[in-house]
Amino acid sequence: MSNTVIEFNNVGKQYILGSIGTGTLSQDLNRWWANIRGKEDPYLKIGETNDRTQKGDSRFVWALRDISFKVEQGDVVGIVGKNGAGKSTLLKILSRVTSPTTGDIKIKGRIASLLEVGTGFHPEMTGRENIFMNGSIMGMTKAEIKSKFDEIVDFAGVAKYVDTPVKRYSSGMMVRLGFAIAAHLEPEILVVDEVLAVGDAEFQKKAIGKMQDVSKGEGRTVLFVSHNMAAVRSLCTRGVMLKNGMVDFIGNIPDTLEHYLKIDDSAQKEKIIDNVKFTKSTLKISNIEINGTNLSESTIQSNQRELTVKIEGHSKEELNYDVMLILRNKDGMPYATYAKGHYMGDIQHQPAGDFVIERTIQLPEILTRGAVYVDLFLHHPMVEYQLKAPNCCILETMGYQQGFGSAMNQIDNGFMGLNDK
């Protein structure tokens, strides 16, 4: 049985670039004049997709455009997207901080938003007073707060400080208290934006656990925006990816994240050599190829067991070096390192002049499907770096699959699979 609790209909939000001044006044007057004659807003038509890297001609920009999707009851929807994709704007409209320029959102039930915890805390008031204050801002009644007071204090772990003004609290304590209040609200819909960024690991775990309880146990709906992919993955059931203010992908969470990770990288289609961040002054690099291409994005095929690396250049002096590769996931977590200089003490010597360094690295037999990010270094271990190119290319792995099997997902299963001896 499906039960839609939130429905977005062609939601759009337009912003004006630049500063407000007399120019804005004349536009306001124009708008007002059009309105009086019963005509359409002359500035609503102008505007282009919101790509902040491109210089646009128009002063008007659509931060959101034609957003339409539905959220069912009990869904935990992760909203992902690059900075500026419109995630926060969407949540702001949803929590009625600002209104949409076009379209509408229909909501069933009480909605509470947690756009940034601890807002509304008055520094001079004590923890106790602030719990009541903040709770009522979020729409709780005094009786509700009273009945949950002990639970909130306990969850936040600030029992000792409850009668101290919050200006004496550490920032962590403030966030914990803020989250505790919000988590004990009982709205049908909870909107959460990046709250887990602060707080120690233990508290983050607690917070995620609480949010899982909220959605699974109590059947409430959660909309969650975060750049913390691990949190999104463990919490959400569905995903919506925004790109330049428009919905780019909707689906279950692994598919959405995979789509996001593939798309979301500025290094896309660049050359690897463009991503070199440092070279020693005596060194000139003319070409770098990884996986047989000089482009920063390539694919590791299902049956591929080798990864080739080729570095061409010129050195003014003799070079003692080793090639090091670190493979990471999207979040920067290292998966594997190729560094013979470290674990074998294997240092190569190269006389001054032109050089071509080539390596062929053995890949694990069973790779999962996903994206692998590569850091490339030339270094003399413990002495110096000659070349640093962190995050220089993305390898998209197709994943290992045989017979009736299907490739495993990197997000759920890690970098590689294991096999019998």
Binding site: I20, L25, K92, T98, S99, M133
Partner: protein, 283 residues
């Protein structure tokens, strides 16, 4: 599929989308805001709420020296302390409501930018918490008043006293109405903010706070319309008249003030409601 949506978020403008029932649902928040205003006022002070009394007391003494003594402005035979204190208690209430309300959007943009609740709660709470402050100052006025009464001054107390609660409500409503209009208008264009700081000062001199209306009538009969047009004039004059029997009590003036107050309040609410939906984008 049912169609009974609880909330529909659009950009449609309804002129009177004033949802008082929603404000009522948030009455606990209103109470919290009032409590917060009062508590935080004297946090980390030694004299605490006594500060509510000290300020008008010393201002009155100053007025007695400057306007009563040096300038020699008549107080129509009312003891100076009573006269100035009556004016100050009323004026202070209006001025506090006005200047605090007119800063609503600016001062609360952090919280308004994060959570939704009926924005009207904030200016309402300002008016109420200032009412408590006003009550304390009013008590001070009564103490001074009774002191003079006991020492033999013959105040002509009269039935206009019954109007006092209405006068106080009108003062608050005027401050609220003007405050909301100014607050709404300064979100996008900040020009009015400069006006408010010195404008309020000037307004006080155009209101019979430190002089009685009769003095103005004698001195500048040509400009008396300025005072009559000022909705505060009738309120202050009636207030003083009720306690002392001296001053101008005129149903027509008071009726005008009342109508003015209602209009400003409605206008304020309408403008405030229009602006609050999008002010985050322009402030």
């Amino acid at each position: 599929m049912s169609n009974d949506w609880d909330i529909i978020i659009t950009n449609k403008n309804r002129l009177f989308s004033l949802d008082l029932s929603e404000v009522w649902r948030y009455r606990d928040l209103l109470a919290m805001y009032v409590k917060r205003d009062i508590i935080t006022f004297y946090k980390q002070t030694i004299l605490g709420p006594l500060w509510f009394v000290i300020q008008p007391l010393f201002t009155t003494i100053m007025f007695m020296f400057v306007f009563g003594g040096i300038a020699g402005i008549s107080t129509d035979g009312i003891p100076q302390a009573v006269f100035y204190l009556a004016g100050l208690v009323c004026w202070n209430y209006f001025q506090d409501c006005l200047s605090k309300c007119s800063d609503t959007f600016n001062a609360n943009q952090a919280i308004f930018g994060k959570v939704y609740f009926p924005r009207l709660v904030v200016p309402l709470s300002i008016v109420i918490s200032n009412l408590i402050k006003m009550a304390i100052q009013f008590a001070l006025f009564l103490v001074v008043y009774i002191y003079y009464f006991a020492s033999g001054i013959d105040f002509q107390v009269n039935a206009a006293l019954l109007l006092i609660p209405l006068l106080i409500i009108m003062l608050g409503a005027l401050g609220l109405g003007f405050g909301m209009i100014i607050s709404s208008m300064t979100t996008k264009y900040r020009d009015l903010r400069f006006l408010i700081t010195f404008g309020v000062q000037l307004w006080m001199y155009a209101t019979p706070v430190i002089y009685p209306l009769s003095v103005m009538k004698d001195t500048y009969p040509k400009y008396i319309w300025v005072l009559v047009a000022n909705p505060l004039t009738a309120i202050l004059e009636t207030f003083k008249y009720a306690f002392t029997g001296v001053g101008e009590f005129n149903w027509f003036y008071l009726g005008y003030s009342f109508a003015f107050t209602i209009i400003i309040l409605m206008l304020g609410i309408v403008i405030f409601n229009r602006v609050q939906r999008n002010f985050m984008d322009v402030i």
